[in-house]
Amino acid sequence: MAVPVAFFAVFFAYPVAAIVGRGLKADGVWQFGRFGEVLARPEIRDVLWFTLWQALASTALTLLIALPGAYVFARFEFPGKQVLRAVVTVPFVLPTVVVGTAFLALLGRGGLLDELWGVRLDTTVWAILLAHVFFNYAVVVRTVGGLWAQLDPRQEEAARVLGASRFTAWRRVTLPALAPAVAAAALMVFLFTFTSFGVVQILGGPGFSTLEVEIYRQTAQLLALPTAAVLTLVQFAAVGAILAVHAWTVRRRERALKLVDPAQTARRPHGAGQWTLLAGVLLSVLLLVLLPLAVLVERSLGGSGFAYYRALTSADANSGTFLVAPVEAIGNSLRYALVATLFALVVGGFAAAALTRRAGRLVRGFDALLMLPLGVSAVTVGFGFLITLDKPPLDLRTSWILVPLAQALVGVPFVVRTMLPVLRAVDARLREAAAVLGASPLRAWREVDFPLVRRALLVAAGFAFAVSLGEFGATVFIARPDNPTLPVAVARLLGRSGDLNYGQAMALSTVLMLVCAVSLLLLERIRTDRSGEF
């Protein structure tokens, strides 16, 4: 408990409090009147309203499209399933700058839709919503599907034997067991879309602005700290409310589930209905997830074969875009991601263990607290670091370690979300039985908890790793010595004119995509069965 608390106090609570305090304090006096002033401004109200409704719409749309996918991935066995599961997770970790470009190529002028039907969706809300579904599809599939695969189908069968109709059995047995996972997934998606930044900026054009975009503008561009502080607190309150509701629903429903090996629950689909469902899901994955990714690959090849890829490997003597070959950014990214993953696993692992053991009000509050970094903009945290971590021994402002630290902040919630349901679902009686049979606590943990948790740990690691690979916000705002990560390198290449730069950006995005896919695929291979919320 002490480790995660300390970590969050130093690297999250204190910096954020400091930057908010600077915005709300004038001559040592709190200026709470600023809330009224800021929130009365019509443009701010527009921002708040837009943020809310697009997040709700995005979440509904994502659930609608991804829940059938979760079912298919959980219950059906079909060739290429593992690869596909890794592939649908790739979007989640792609930098928004890459996704924005891919979606413009699909929905923008001269994009695929334009050529086929003369439809253009860029600078409309539809582009934003679709990109959000693309990003968050995996969240639902992994969170809900992961648990679904481990529910014992025999429970439903038992209900059927006792005379329940198919639907009733599902409603009374499976649905209650799934509900926490669905709630968790919906909450995650809502959080991500509520705090959406890059997608809205790139696809929405200047006409749309979310709270996150506004906070960034007020902080980084205008240095209007009072306004930024008010908006940060508003976002905090909103995120806090969402988390509180979530914690409550989970507590209402969480109980020890009988988890089984997913390998036993997945079957080949049989009957026309199931085949149709499978085909429908595969089609939706193809259109929503694979097509944007394919556009990227197509543009990276751009008719000139692998020329762009070759260009990546040379540090161009007459250009200063990079002092090193762009390909070195891969190494940097992997290094950062590895360190960030470790931080996240250590902090998140402790937090999850602590949360499983105790169930006081305080601890529950801490549970929600761990999720807060997801709802606080990178620019707030980054600027908070600047004014707090400036004294020895913690003068980390110019150290590279700050980047993985900031990335770990975002990774920890994933680790906790992944570990917690599994840890909590471990039936305590198993442990007790082991103890009765003479096992030491350590041995009981090793023989009982660990095998059940190991998979969740791997999945958690995979997610933390992938999140930090694609993480862009903190990497940009936090000053770092010049060793660009993949997303930063892509953004830089896109920030230059010229065919080779554009092509290299696409090629590097493709590389990033592959690196993510391969990392995720490796995780899938380690153990085919997953659990937890991701």
Binding site: G110, N318, D395, T398
Partner: protein
């Protein structure tokens, strides 16, 4: 729970071990917690800048050879964000020298007292008109760049239409629905273009001009990348995206870059510059107040306006040198363009009215 504690210790140790390993692997010099070590005898000088800063390795090595100082570069976001971070950390800066304040942000930096005055050696080779702080020398001009409308040569040749030359041309019916620009609130070329119109038509006239532009179908997108690579038909990216706007707000140095990064390199640039639509950006560097290594910082400022660095800049950052004796590469003279008479607005006028200009521009054009 003694077992968890044991596990904890092991895990932390493992994490630290890997951290140390990762540290070894990273290519920068031994980046200890605090940029430059204590005392003025330090051999490292830290340059804080925005993400667009670049310098060739050889040139930085040359600096080390001449002065004995090693340069450590820290980048932190775009120009506005990087400067604002410096303002936040005023008095206990992360480095010794800050590079990348331009004339649109200059007053903000000076009013906040970010810099220690220092007159760089060799400043006599720099024209007076770019020395915007000539009486105090708190900042030193390093480079200039013009924000101008670029046009797609092929489009205008095919249409047998003369490309626009001036701001006024852009509002003519012949060029209806052809121009794409960036959001002045979020993008620096977007802001530059807006300031160019303020400089040309005055505080009273710029709004009327933008009304005309809007009626003439100007498109506004968020950032330069999107405007240039997705909407502008003359760029490599735009061609792939089948973009349909042959006019874009970009830089005077964009055509040479198009040539440089084309494979094979064409004989002529695919794009041209409307030389009467330019706004001149001047970038400055300054010695940060509270710098740990003042001597090194001063040496670095001298070096930034020295011939070596000035001649290296055009092809690393695609900007023009300020020193008269610096030779501009052939690529620039051959494919680039010089602005006729770039529009200017006084830095203090910008500081005073920028917000309000951007606000009224937004409500006029974006909404």
């Amino acid at each position: 729970m003694s077992t968890t504690q044991k596990a904890a210790v092991a895990a932390v140790a493992a994490a630290l071990g890997v951290t140390a390993l990762a540290g070894c692997g990273s290519s920068d010099d031994s980046a200890s917690g605090s940029g430059s070590t204590k005392g003025s005898g330090s051999k490292t000088v830290t340059l804080v800048s925005h993400d667009s800063f670049n310098a060739s390795k050889d040139v930085l090595k040359e600096f080390t050879r001449e002065t004995g100082y090693t340069v450590k570069v820290l980048k932190s976001g775009d120009a506005g964000a990087a400067l604002n971070q410096e303002i936040l950390t005023k008095g206990s800066p992360r480095g010794d020298v800050f590079f990348g304040v331009d004339n649109t942000l200059l007053s903000r930096a000076l009013d906040n007292g970010l810099f220690t005055p220092y007159e760089a050696k060799g400043l006599d080779r720099v024209p007076a008109d770019v020395q915007l702080d000539a009486d105090k020398h708190r900042v030193t001009p390093v480079d200039t760049g013009d924000i101008c409308v670029n046009y797609d040569k092929k489009y205008f040749a095919d249409k047998k239409l003369a490309p626009p030359k001036t701001f006024a041309d852009l509002a003519k019916p012949a060029y209806k629905d052809l121009l794409v620009t960036e959001n002045a609130a979020t993008s620096s070329p977007g802001l530059g273009f807006l300031l160019g119109t303020v400089g040309t038509f005055g505080e009273d006239g710029y709004q009327d001009y933008w009304k005309k532009l809007k009626d003439n179908g100007v498109k506004v997108v968020d950032g330069w990348e999107q405007a240039y690579n997705e909407e502008f038909s003359g760029s490599a990216g735009g061609k792939k995206a089948k973009a349909d706007r042959p006019l874009v707000v970009s830089y005077a140095s964009s055509p040479p870059v198009e040539v440089l990064y084309a494979d094979p390199q064409p004989k002529t640039a695919p794009t041209g510059v409307a030389t009467g639509t330019c706004f001149r950006q001047i970038e400055f560097a300054g010695l940060l107040d509270g710098a740990k290594n003042e001597a090194g910082g001063k040496a670095l400022l001298d070096f930034l306006i020295g011939k070596k660095f000035q001649e290296d800049m055009p092809l690393t950052m695609f900007v023009s040198p300020v020193a008269k004796d610096a030779k501009v590469p052939g690529l620039f003279t051959e494919f680039g363009a010089t602005a006729d008479k770039p529009a200017t607005v006084a830095p203090d006028a910008i500081a005073k009215n920028r917000e309000q200009w951007v606000q009224s521009w937004s409500s006029l054009v974006v909404k």
